[in-house]
């Protein structure tokens, strides 16, 4: 139960936090079509986050924050709005402050490529709920990845300025990418039991897809070292960036001001 819950929280928090970062783009995209597309991706990820958080709560009710008696908040909201930053289990890639549009599409490419490989495999695992989330999510994330890849290629081959920005975003985000593929003990144990996917097992596929997109974009993967953690701990261990705490301050403010509220 505890391993499964931790695993679902990790995947759910990734989706929740990236959805939040994308929603910050609302009314700021370069064109209306992109405003709509980005909102749509944020909505899909939010939907995935809700299913995963609910699965985590069902797998181990002990992970759900206890609120004052009488609070009508469902488990998904307790998990989203009443945990501290250190209790979240997302990778650090998704929590970074958003930058320009190149930053958006590069992050989305890195995330959705890794996530798609994982969801495909998840669809074949034992837990029927996770398998269903994997199957449905894969369809959605395929679209996200294609959207991101299309823009990465367009920006890389558009103008000098757009190529400069695309490469800068790639340099900035590449060091955070390997953390997505790190083998974490929780995932490894679940994968051995056929109830989860070890991200390390997807590494080859993920790197292959990225190499293909970058080739079309006429870029190469930047020569940068992965970001260190603190004594080996990173996002999945609750060791986050400063950006996450600031993000949660905003995201949780209304829910926390009304722990007994109905919405």
């Amino acid at each position: 139960g505890a391993d499964l819950a931790a695993y679902c929280l990790g995947l759910g928090d990734d989706a929740l936090v990236l959805s939040h970062r994308l929603s910050q783009w609302c009314s700021r995209a370069p064109d209306l079509e992109d405003d709509i597309a980005v909102a749509n991706i944020a909505l899909d990820l939010l939907g995935q986050a809700r299913l995963l958080l609910a699965r985590a709560a069902a797998a181990d009710p002990a992970v759900v924050p206890v609120l004052a008696e009488g609070s009508p908040a469902p488990d998904e909201d307790r998990l989203a709005f009443f945990r501290e930053a250190g209790e979240l289990r997302c990778t650090r890639l998704v929590e970074l402050e958003h930058g320009d549009f190149a930053h958006l599409v590069v992050r989305l490419l890195l995330f959705s490529t890794a996530r798609l490989a994982l969801l495909h495999r998840l669809a074949g695992t034992r837990d029927p709920v996770l398998a269903a989330i994997g199957a449905k999510g894969a369809t959605e994330v395929t679209y996200h990845r294609d959207y991101a890849a299309r823009w990465v290629v367009t920006l890389a081959r558009g103008t000098e300025e757009s190529r400069r920005r695309l490469l800068a975003a790639l340099d900035e985000l590449a060091p955070w990418h390997p953390e997505q593929l790190d083998a974490h003990p929780v995932a490894t144990r679940l994968a051995q039991a056929g109830a989860g996917v070890d991200p390390a097992a997807t590494a080859e596929e993920v790197e292959g897809v990225l190499a293909q997109v970058l080739a079309e974009a006429r870029c190469s993967w930047p020569d940068v070292a992965p970001r260190a953690g603190v004594r080996g701990r990173t996002g999945r261990d609750g060791m986050h960036t400063e950006a996450l705490g600031r993000m949660l301050a905003e995201m949780q403010v209304v829910a926390r001001a009304h722990p007994l509220g109905r919405w």
Binding site: S27, D100, E161, H258, R262
Partner: protein
């Protein structure tokens, strides 16, 4: 003259003018102004609600709000398309918006200050918009009328969602009920002003009515909105902040107090609580997106030419 006769005949029969039909230049200009203003309102309207996306207090509400703001972008898109059939491009319209040469609904120059505002905007603001827009489904210009049919359908959905949020909050804690009341107090008068100045101060109304662009006067619509809203407020359990509001048996309608027309004038002329911020936000997004739009055009050109790109 023959063309003009045919135009007048179509209008008289309450039928539709289509893009390739002849139309008087003043009719076209009036339409461009109105449709553009409407499109801009959808786009600017994303801001006051979008500001609460990052603070929505439940994941379900966050999803509902995201979908709603996305719908507004969609409305903007097809209203701009309708406007393009009149020969003005989306780029030109956006430029006029950010330069302050075209308007958008005055209501979006008021701030959203609590999560209850998301509900109130749905209930009162979308409600008032629907009162304005339902008659426009029968407007004389075809593409505009058809866009309005789709917009109105989604707006009623938004209005119900907003009302439902307020209803849920009224069933919550005392603090939540106070939030709802405070929000309604703040939005009531600005919502009434959405119908524009009183008829005797609205010089363009007559012509728009004659051309079938508008179907009702400002005051008619305002009255209809008040009559529709009062029972909804009762059901909700909130007080509308107007001591003069009461049922007039004789008129078969509600009497109500006078909005602050001086405030409306100030808001329309640019000195509202949020005018500068709304325009600045839109301008920034537009300017910061320029390099992306340029890249997309450059890439499209390059990949069309064989041997290049």
């Amino acid at each position: 003259a023959l063309l003009e006769e045919r135009f007048e005949a179509v209008i008289a029969r309450h039928e539709r003018i289509e893009p390739r039909d002849w139309m008087p230049e003043a009719y076209r200009r009036t339409l461009v102004r109105q449709v553009a203003q409407h499109a801009h309102s959808e786009i600017i309207g994303m801001q006051p609600e979008g500001a609460w996306l990052t603070r929505a207090p439940s994941l379900r509400r966050k999803a509902v709000l995201l979908a709603k703001v996305q719908d507004e972008a969609g409305h903007g898109l097809y209203l701009y398309s309708a406007c393009e059939t009149l020969g003005v491009s989306r780029g030109e319209l956006t430029q006029m918006l950010v330069d302050g040469r075209q308007k958008y609904s005055s209501i979006f120059n008021y701030p959203t200050l609590s999560y209850a505002d998301v509900g109130t905007i749905g209930w009162l603001v979308d409600g008032a918009a629907i009162c304005n827009q339902v008659p426009l489904c029968r407007t004389s210009y075809g593409p505009y009328g058809r866009a309005m049919i789709r917009v109105c359908k989604e707006e009623s959905f938004h209005q119900r969602q907003g009302y439902e949020l307020l209803m849920t909050m009224m069933g919550g804690t005392d603090e939540q009920r106070a939030m709802v009341q405070e929000s309604v107090d703040r939005f009531w008068w600005p919502a009434l002003m959405m119908f524009g100045p009183p008829d005797d101060a609205s010089p363009n109304t007559a012509r728009s009515l004659a051309w079938g662009i508008k179907r009702n006067t400002n005051d008619e619509l305002r009255q209809k909105f008040v009559d529709m809203t009062v029972p909804q407020a009762e059901r909700l359990g909130v007080t509308l902040p107007d001591p003069d509001l009461r049922w007039n048996e004789e008129r078969g309608a509600h009497d109500f107090g006078e909005p602050d027309w001086d405030e409306l004038t100030r808001v329309i002329s640019g000195a509202g609580p949020c005018n500068a911020e709304r325009i600045a936000h839109r301008r920034r997004a537009h300017e910061e997106g320029a390099w992306v739009r340029d890249a997309a055009s450059a890439f499209a050109r390059a990949t069309k030419e064989p041997g290049r790109g």
